[in-house]
């Protein structure tokens, strides 16, 4: 019996070798017909023996290429067309676009093998790639993904490449960035004045780095600054030129062996290092490591990645085993990705420029992850993950969520798919807002939808309001921590009400104060706050975030009045005069907003212990404080109180008293820091316990979200203690717990509010 069917495959099916795979499958089962990319995904027509057709349909999802992800297969009976062959036909650019934008992946084993084979025509060619690896998102101008719509369009394929490209049995069949030394992009090493350095560019760059120079390297998603990570002087030089005194720098190690020599690596971390996404993984440094101390000053951990482009592989080897590889940008503005901008803006920072002539269309930062409870935990979700969509059960069509002020990421809803955009950065800077608008516009065009509803954080001064007001769409204002909570609910598929414990930096609260240490209960439609940390003043407002000692003064003053200020003066002796002014500001209510946040609490304790009184990067005070503790231990808690007002309030007066006594008794900082961490855990757990007691019918699920949930000790202990209360504990694994994950929650909340409005 004979049979003809049409098959539409949706999901990540373009740019991942799907059509050659289908071609091979058709050969195997002796079926005829066509395969084609269209706006909807991959469209297949096959006809032949009915049993063979069924076999084909059965094998398709089972054997799909490693980089593909099938969301849906639609099979319909079709008219017999009497094809004589099976062939791949050109892309069809019509149809409603539900296709997925392919993502960039690390160079694959097969390509590496060829690159190191002296007999291969791509021997040591830094742009080798195939259908299973190489650039994608970063080179795409328009969809569907096809060479003429990528930045490879200016490179005319040579005969041999064209042959590989056309040959359905070749592993480079329709590999859009296909290239070779004859026809493809090339590298060059430039001096500061733009003059080319003679000789092998990569070898020369290696020499210079080994000699202590700083080289700007054009990679996949933008420029990096590279220097020898074992050369303390070079690293210090880089810090000085980049004006980045303490913030940890990422490093790239030549191989997994080298990573293991430098750091402690668990089996799960190993998997992440060698994954196609090749993110930066934050791991523990070994003692006596040869990594220069300035790479991650004062930290036990370091962010490491493996080479992920062929160029990186050629640059790093035994003679240059580990380099600093930090994104090249002026602090706070987007990564540099255009050549002329690099030469202009990195004057005075880079000594040389290792460049190439394949334009980057969409810059993207390296993803940063760590392993928590054996699972991936995002600090930054970018290269390798963006813009792969998340599926949702809700209809989020034509909703856009604009994210937070910092670590901004926007999200786009199309039917039941959510596209999180790339890491945009801190919207404080105009350059970042422009970057936002550019990337947003691209994604919008690709999606083919116009937003009807925009979700914006409640904070009246967030830049996202200015963006939202330019568009003609309904604006839904979403409370910051509600968004954090729903973000974690959504990725864990929790759809009914649950608890949300949010430990965060600062977010605008419904009462006009700053929130960031909340116990919430609710769902995407509504929530209520059950408890929070006592409000204390932030004298000088935003200045407190750069100067944690101020927050300490505010807390001590709030809890202990005159005595507290006296203690602050004693502790920060050289600031006695300023403290007297801050006291007046607080008492007069001048520029001293009230805040109850976990991030600021960490800041205050960190400053009080002299760990960090001035912060030079995001979360520095908290990060450095948690470096003192051993997260395999369980510390004793300090005393605290929970008071019942309308809501419960965590009052930490007794903790501060006890910390002060410990300081007086010359207790070690690591012990005090440990007890403080445990106090945050115990106070949170006690809050939850009281809530469970008062509301016995509440669902026993709890999500943990907010920036402070990066803290391994806190999360681990919360998981243990909350489980003991009979709760199921959920954390983030798909998006960051910090503001990088905010847009996901905003989008889901907006979907619920919009629906309510419509009904």
């Amino acid at each position: 019996m004979q049979k003809a069917v049409n098959i539409t495959v949706k999901g990540r099916v373009q740019g991942v070798g799907f059509r050659p795979f289908i071609f091979a499958l058709a050969q195997r089962y002796q079926v005829k017909g066509t395969v084609q990319n269209n706006m909807d995904g991959v469209f297949i027509h096959i006809e032949g023996d009915a049993y063979a057709v069924d076999q084909f349909i059965h094998s398709l999802p089972m054997e799909a290429p490693r980089l593909s992800r099938i969301d849906e297969i639609i099979v319909t009976l079709a008219q017999w067309q009497a094809f004589e062959h099976f062939s791949i036909i050109p892309s069809e650019r019509t149809g409603s676009s539900s296709l997925v934008i392919p993502i960039d992946t690390a160079v694959c084993e097969d390509c590496l093998r060829e690159m190191y084979d002296p007999d291969d025509r791509r021997y040591r060619y830094p742009f080798i790639n195939c259908t299973q690896c190489g650039p994608r998102y970063t080179i795409i101008e328009q969809l569907p993904y096809d060479r003429p719509f990528t930045s490879m369009r200016s490179f005319q394929m040579c005969e041999r490449c064209a042959k590989e490209y056309e040959d359905p049995m070749n592993r480079r069949h329709h590999a859009q960035p296909i290239a070779c030394p004859t026809c493809g992009p090339s590298v060059a090493l430039l001096k500061r004045d733009g003059q080319t350095v003679q000789g092998d560019a990569i070898q020369q760059a290696k020499q210079y780095i080994r000699a202590g120079a700083i080289v700007a390297v054009k990679g996949l998603g933008g420029y990096h600054l590279a220097c020898d990570a074992t050369n303390e002087q070079a690293v210090q030089q880089l810090r000085m030129r980049k004006r980045r005194p303490h913030r940890p720098l990422a490093i790239m190690a030549a191989s997994l062996d080298i990573v293991e020599q430098l750091c402690h690596v668990t089996a799960e971390e190993k998997q992440l290092f060698i994954s196609p996404e090749a993110p930066i993984v934050v791991v523990k440094k070994r003692k006596n490591t040869m990594i220069a101390p300035s790479v991650a000053p004062g930290l036990q951990t370091v962010g490491v990645m493996l080479p992920y482009t062929p160029l990186h592989h050629l640059l790093l080897d035994d003679r240059l085993p580990v380099v600093v590889m930090t994104s090249a940008n002026r602090s706070g503005v987007p990564m540099i990705y255009e050549d002329d901008q690099a030469l202009r803006d990195l004057q005075g920072i880079a000594d040389y420029f290792l460049v190439h002539n394949r334009p980057i269309v969409h810059p993207i930062d390296d993803s940063v992850v760590q392993v928590e409870n054996g699972k991936i935990h995002f600090i930054r979700r970018a290269r390798g993950f963006v813009p792969d969509p998340l599926e949702t059960k809700y209809d989020v069509h034509e909703i856009v969520a604009l994210g937070g002020q910092q670590k901004n990421v926007f999200a786009f809803g199309r039917h039941h798919q959510i596209f999180l955009g790339p890491h945009i950065g801190d919207l404080e800077h105009v350059e970042v807002v422009e970057h936002f608008q550019r990337e947003y516009e691209h994604l919008r065009t690709w999606m083919g939808v116009t937003p009807k509803t925009i979700a914006v954080d409640l904070h009246p001064n967030y830049e996202t309001w200015n963006i939202a007001k330019q568009w003609n769409a309904d604006i839904v204002a979403v409370q910051h921590h509600h968004a954090h909570m729903v973000s974690c609910m959504e990725e864990n598929h929790i759809h009914s009400s649950c608890f949300g414990l949010i430990l965060d930096g600062t977010g605008y609260g419904e009462d006009g104060h700053i929130w960031g240490f909340e116990l919430l209960y609710g769902n995407a439609s509504q929530y209520k706050r059950l408890g929070h940390l006592t409000y204390t003043p932030l004298p000088g407002g935003e200045r407190c975030i750069k100067e944690p000692w101020r927050t300490a003064v505010g807390m001590l003053g709030h809890y202990f009045g005159e005595q507290g200020y006296a203690l602050a003066e004693k502790r920060f002796t050289e600031r006695a005069q300023e403290i007297r002014v801050l006291k007046q500001m607080i008492e007069k209510g001048l520029h001293s907003p009230l805040a109850g946040t976990c991030g600021r609490l960490f800041d205050a304790v960190s400053a009080f212990l002299y760990v960090c009184t001035h912060s030079t990067y995001d979360g520095e005070a908290a990060v450095r404080l948690s470096e003192f503790i051993d997260d395999t231990k369980i510390y004793k808690t300090y005393p605290f109180q929970i008071k019942k007002q309308d809501e419960w309030e965590i009052d930490l007066a007794e903790m501060w008293q006890a910390i002060w006594e410990d300081v007086e008794a010359h207790e070690q900082v690591n012990i005090i820091a440990g007890r403080f961490h445990e106090t945050v855990v115990q106070a949170s757990v006690e809050l939850v316990r009281l809530a469970l007691q008062q509301y016995p019918t509440y669902e026993r699920n709890i999500v943990l979200s907010g920036g402070s949930m990066h803290n391994r000790y806190i999360v681990k202990r919360l998981r243990q203690e909350l489980s003991k209360l009979g709760l199921c504990v959920y954390t983030h694994q798909k998006v960051p717990c910090n503001d990088g994950g905010l847009a996901l929650g905003q989008l889901i909340i907006a979907a619920h509010r919009r629906d309510r409005v419509c009904v």
Binding site: H429, V430, H459, N461, E463, H480, Y508, G540, G541, K583
Partner: protein, 330 residues
């Protein structure tokens, strides 16, 4: 000590006495005082008129007092639209119990400030209110000037933005003078009459496009308004904006931005690039304009945004002063 009583405001004998002793004698305008309204002739020119109320706390501060501020403020508002200030009125609301000697000091400095630029104070009014219903003294002034230079605000790309001196002095001086914060500083208010300075600048260039006195809301708010009103984008360079070290220090401590602090003796101008030097020289030739500086450029005739280029090479967009200054950093 002699103090203001309610009777000083009842229109009777005491009131007459007060007007004669304090106002008429100091303003030397007895000619007008004999009638219900002042009469005067002005050239048949285009006129400018402005009014403003002054409620500053404290009434006396380093560099001036409420009286000086009230006269200078109104004269400055006339001057920045290209007018020669001619006459003004002033109206006082005085709290019962206010020391008459303080009133005399205040009126004295008003007279002096007006005399500097030959402005006549031609009419006035005095009301006394019960103790507790006003905070010492409020002054309202209204001024009329004759337009000498019709400013044509045709702002062009490439135009320069000039400020006549350091910003934020008045704001910090007032904060310090209140004495509530325990702040110590020698900073004085820049409160002064800008007419002579502006006249010099107008002499030096016929093509000054626009002037503003950046009082409440500071330099940033004044420029945001210009950007929005005329749809231009101005880029300031943070490093070029003159800020006194004491002002900078106080701002750092309080978490304020000097660009949002009030000034009472500064003018910001937009001038064609080629006139920049001439205007700058003219301003710098006067004591109040010594620290004049070019602080930015009109980047584009669109968008209406005020941008600030930071020393790190990044750009921030500035908005109007908002009452709500909550941290945005998560």
């Amino acid at each position: 000590m002699e103090r203001i009583t309610l009777a000083h405001g009842d229109g009777g004998q005491l009131a007459h006495q007060l007007i004669a002793d304090v106002f008429v004698s100091m303003f030397r305008n007895d000619r007008h005082a004999k009638f219900d309204a002042a009469t005067f002739t002005l050239d048949p020119h285009e006129l400018a008129m402005t009014t403003d109320s002054f409620v500053v706390k404290p009434l006396f501060f380093p560099g001036g007092n409420i009286g000086k501020l009230a006269v200078a403020g109104t004269i400055n508002d006339l001057s920045v639209v290209g007018a020669i200030p001619k006459v003004m009125t002033c109206s006082f609301i005085i709290e019962e119990g206010f020391p008459i000697c303080d009133l005399k000091t205040i009126v004295q400095s008003m007279a002096e400030e007006a005399k500097k630029v030959n402005v006549e104070i031609v009419a006035g009014d005095t009301k006394v209110v019960e103790r507790g219903s006003a905070d010492g003294l409020y002054i309202n002034t209204t001024g009329i000037g004759v337009i000498s230079h019709s400013l044509e605000p045709k702002i062009c790309e490439g135009d320069s933005v000039i400020v006549s001196g350091s910003v934020g002095d008045h704001g910090v001086a007032i904060l310090v003078a209140r004495g509530e914060l325990g702040l110590v500083s020698t900073i004085e208010s820049d409160c002064t009459t800008l007419y002579p300075l502006i006249a010099k600048a107008l002499q030096a260039s016929q093509r000054i496009r626009l002037m503003r006195d950046p009082t409440r809301g500071g330099l940033a708010t004044a420029l945001v308004e210009i950007c929005e009103d005329f749809g231009v984008t101005i880029e300031l360079e943070e490093e070029r904006i003159p800020v006194k070290q004491e002002v900078e220090g106080a701002c750092e401590l309080l978490g304020f931005d000097p660009l949002y602090l009030a000034n009472e003796g500064k003018v910001v101008m937009i001038v064609p690039k080629e006139e920049e030097q001439a205007v700058l020289d003219a301003l710098r030739s006067q004591p109040e304009g010594k620290a004049a500086a070019v602080i930015g450029t009109v980047r584009a005739i669109n968008k209406g945004q005020l941008l600030l280029r930071t020393p790190l090479g990044t750009t921030r967009r500035l908005y109007r002063l908002t009452g709500l200054m909550l941290p945005r950093i998560c």
